[in-house]
């Protein structure tokens, strides 16, 4: 046995007591769906885990109606203090059941237990804890006094961080006073349903959070539903576009957190050991199923060979296999479909002339797997340098000057994240200024925190999650405050006629933040 070989150290599944089938969680109860149930299975073994109800359009109606009732009768009338206490309760329950949630997540998603246990689930608890404290402090959210909630939020989340994305969506929505209908991804519904049990334990009023399971058509029906006031989506840019079209002309407020093709820029004076670990974490964390993954390595030409050699050597020590094994670094690809996409793009890389190197690791017989892979000799025009692969595949490009690094980093329709590695602080700040990306990590990568806003530029979407900005995405200014209208006042006083009656304007879909009462207009100077 070499030093790289370990005895198996699987986390016990005994902590889980799963049901054989799960219904939709609507109005505080699990109910049958009207669609054809589907199975969720482990991507590591392809074994069935449970049967999951499938929500059709009728179920979406029922869930949205439940959320609306809960909003009108309970949640929007509850004090911020009490809303906050429910969220604190939820945070504590997540901590209490943390191991169980981590095991369920790794089972259903395929990610290594060390990640679900040490990253995903602790962040879930942190997210609820952070936003719990906001619930009775909304006056300080940056929208002026007495901001108002939006109503019913439709939330559709992806399969890469199932429970974490749930927390990013639900925690700020509830803190701000909205109610929720959330649809988890088709391949990873399990932890959302365990979370529904936690909501029952927390005694959250029925209908405040509704969780409906299903595939893309369920999500589309939810987003399109007329009873929805807010849409929050995390997923592909293609679906994000479709949602933006869907809500055009409505009053729905939208946040979209979409794809990325992040540049991770390594200068020749970078702390090389940390940089290698950061590059590995940047693209091989969670099998590369990360929208902000550092999938384009931009390395200064003079250190290219050294970085690539050290990367290969490091990747050769990564352990691929059973997600529940505590020593596993690389888990399973989430689905056959995703594996096919990775293979397709990876083959395109070879076809276009890039050189492929994969870590020598044993691939298990069952399940979906992809060995950590590096492409060198990549051209900026190659598909593997332009398209989001969403897998453990790194494209290596080079640069000579900081200006060239910045130009290449920004040469993408995406703009979610970026990394900078150098020992020179002034260069970090100057480069960070120039990068068109919503999150920039300097001498680190893939860090997340509930107090820290996250979201994209350009086609990586709009709106922010996390921090005060993430809270504001679920609020609108109060009617009285939003209209500090000196100009309108003066125009009214001088008797200037206007073509539109203020109140008729409200009939046209407009931003909910705008109000047009003359009383408000007389409140004085713009705030």
């Amino acid at each position: 046995m070499s030093f790289l070989e370990y005895a198996p150290a699987p986390e016990s599944r005994a902590i889980l007591s799963l049901r054989d089938s799960y219904g939709l969680f609507i109005d505080g109860e699990f109910v049958d769906g009207h669609g054809t149930p589907f199975q969720t299975s482990s991507p590591a073994t392809e074994e069935r885990i449970a049967t999951i109800a499938n929500a059709n359009a009728a179920d979406v109606d029922i869930a949205v109606a439940a959320a609306r009732r809960a909003y009108d009768r309970t949640w929007s009338r509850m004090s911020g203090r009490d809303r906050g206490k429910y969220l604190f309760r939820i945070a504590r329950l997540v901590q209490e059941r943390a191991r169980e949630l981590a095991v369920a997540e790794s089972l259903d998603n395929g990610k290594p237990i060390k990640e679900s246990r040490d990253v995903d689930v602790p962040l879930v608890a942190a997210w609820f804890f952070y936003y719990a404290g906001w619930a009775d402090k909304l006056d300080h959210a940056g929208l002026g006094a007495n901001p108002r909630s939006l109503g019913v939020a439709a939330q559709v989340i992806p399969w890469n961080f199932p429970l974490l994305m749930l927390s990013w969506k639900i925690a700020p929505a509830l803190a701000a006073g909205n109610t929720v209908v959330l649809k988890p991804a088709e391949t990873t519904p399990l932890t959302a349903l365990l979370f529904a049990e936690i909501l029952q334990q927390a005694d959250l009023p029925p209908g405040v959070v509704n969780i409906i399971t299903g595939a893309g058509d369920t999500g589309a029906a939810l987003v399109a539903h007329e009873g929805v006031d807010k849409v929050a989506f995390t997923g592909s840019t293609a679906v994000g576009r479709a949602i933006a079209k869907q809500v055009a002309g409505t009053q729905k407020k939208v946040t979209l957190e979409l794809g990325g093709k992040a540049a991770n820029i390594v200068f020749d004076d970078a702390p090389i050991d940390q940089a290698i670990e950061g590059i590995v974490n940047g693209i091989f964390f969670n099998q590369g199923h990360v929208c902000c993954a550092g999938s384009r390595l931009l390395v200064q030409e003079s250190i290219h060979d050294e970085v690539v050699e050290r990367l290969k050597s490091r990747l050769s020590t990564l352990r691929l296999g059973d997600p529940l094994d505590k020593n596993t670094d690389i888990g399973a690809i989430n689905s056959a479909e995703q594996l096919e996409r990775i293979n397709e793009l990876s083959d395109a890389g070879v076809d276009e002339g890039a050189e492929r190197w994969s870590a020598p690791c044993e691939i298990p017989e069952n399940g979906f797997w992809y060995a950590p892979t590096i492409f060198t000799n990549v051209q900026t025009s190659n598909r593997i340098a332009r398209e989001e692969i969403f897998g453990p595949v790194l494209s290596v490009l080079t640069f000579r000057t900081p200006a060239e690094a910045i130009a290449k980093a920004n040469n993408t329709p995406y703009g979610l994240s970026a990394g900078i590695w150098t020992d020179k602080g002034s260069r970090i700040l100057a480069v960070a200024d120039q990068l068109r990306a919503g999150v920039v990590w300097a001498n680190t990568f893939n860090r997340f925190d509930p107090s820290s806003p996250f979201g994209g530029y350009k086609e990586s979407g709009y709106g922010r999650e996390g921090g005060r900005h993430g809270l504001a995405a679920y609020l609108a200014p109060s009617s009285a405050v939003s209209a500090g209208r000196a100009g309108a006042q003066r125009r009214l006083e001088t008797g200037e006629s206007t073509s539109a009656e203020p109140d008729t304007a409200a009939e046209r879909p407009a931003r909910p933040t705008r109000t047009r009462t003359t009383r408000a207009a007389k409140k004085g100077a713009a705030k």
Binding site: T237, R241, A244, K245, A248, G249, L256, P413, G415, G425, I428, A432, L435, A437, G438, V439, V440, A442, T444, R447, D449, S451, S452, P453, F454, G455, Y457, K458, E459, Y462, G467, R468, H469, P477, S482, A483, G484, R485, A486, G487, A488, R490, R491, T494, G495, E496, T498, S499, A500, P502, A505, R508, P509, A510, R511, T513, R516, A521, A526, K527
Partner: protein, 286 residues
């Protein structure tokens, strides 16, 4: 003998220059009582594209200027507008059929809004940004940055104040603008461009198109090099189609507003055309 007046030729404002429409088209602008005022340029798709190219070229310099500098440049617009107050009052009286008092009030308000927004240039980042207390040894800060190129359909019911109210906030953060002026009241928009051209605003930062918003706006809404679309004055157009077209490149979209409060001064109008960037940096004594 009364002196024969010298009328002005009103053209477009693109990249700091005043070209005619490449299409050679003009349309007749008349006063409230129907009298001929001028032939305004009727901008084409090509003009709109040229304007986007000019705006894109201007973003880096304008966004890269210091906030203090941007504030002073915006304030200087107010100074120059004040100096040409009589010209704008007369134009608005003619075009809108407004009384002297109404026209004066509109010009005053436009000037004051430039001043109000000028003052925001070196402050909004402090109000809209954050230091984030993350749970780890990291310096973590969020700052608003300009979105890039903003295309605007200006309010259609006024000559000056609506235009200023839409353009000024987009400039505060460092965006470059392509604005389609009021179709009925386009002349003050071009006179404002003359103010901009002589007030230290770098060329290309503001580009003014006159003509038919219904014709030009779709090309701006679908243009891949436009980052944001302000439909404040598009209420009478098929604006849902414009928002739909903008979705193809995930543009940030502000929906139409109408009535006396349309585009009223708010911090929201500044932050609507910003992107929040969060920077993480490790902390260590080593």
């Amino acid at each position: 003998m009364s002196r024969l007046a010298v009328p002005k030729t009103y053209k477009l404002y693109i990249g700091g220059a005043f070209p005619r429409s490449e299409s050679g088209r003009t349309y007749e602008v008349v006063s409230a009582s129907g009298a001929f005022l001028a032939n305004a340029a009727k901008a084409s798709r090509k003009d709109a594209r040229d304007a986007v190219v000019a705006a894109r070229g201007a973003v880096a310099g304008w966004a890269g200027a210091t906030a203090y500098n941007r504030g002073q440049v915006l304030y200087r617009i107010a100074e120059l507008l004040e100096g040409r107050r009589a010209q704008f009052v007369a134009e608005i009286e003619d075009a809108e059929g407004a009384t002297r008092a109404q026209a004066s009030a509109q010009v005053d308000e436009a000037i004051d809004r430039w001043v109000w927004y000028a003052g925001w240039a070196d402050k909004f980042a402090q109000v809209a940004g954050n230091a984030n207390p993350v749970a780890g040894p990291y310096f973590n800060i969020s700052v608003p940055e300009p979105t890039g190129v903003v295309a605007i359909v200006a309010p259609q019911d006024s000559s000056l104040v609506g235009l200023v109210s839409a353009v000024a906030p987009a400039l505060v953060a460092g965006n470059a603008v392509v604005v389609v002026a009021s179709e009925r009241f386009p002349l003050s928009a071009i006179s404002l461009a003359e103010v901009l051209a002589t007030s230290d605003v770098p060329k290309g930062v503001v580009n003014v198109l006159t003509g038919s918003p219904a014709e030009i706006a779709p090309w701006l809404a679908s243009h891949a090099d436009v980052n944001a679309l302000d439909l404040v004055g598009a209420g009478e157009l098929d604006w849902v189609d414009l928002e739909f077209a903008a979705a193809d490149t995930l543009k940030r979209v502000l929906r139409p507003e109408q009535g006396p409060d349309a585009a009223a001064p708010t911090l929201d109008r500044i932050t609507a055309f910003t992107e929040t960037k969060t920077v993480w940096h490790t902390k260590s004594l080593k």
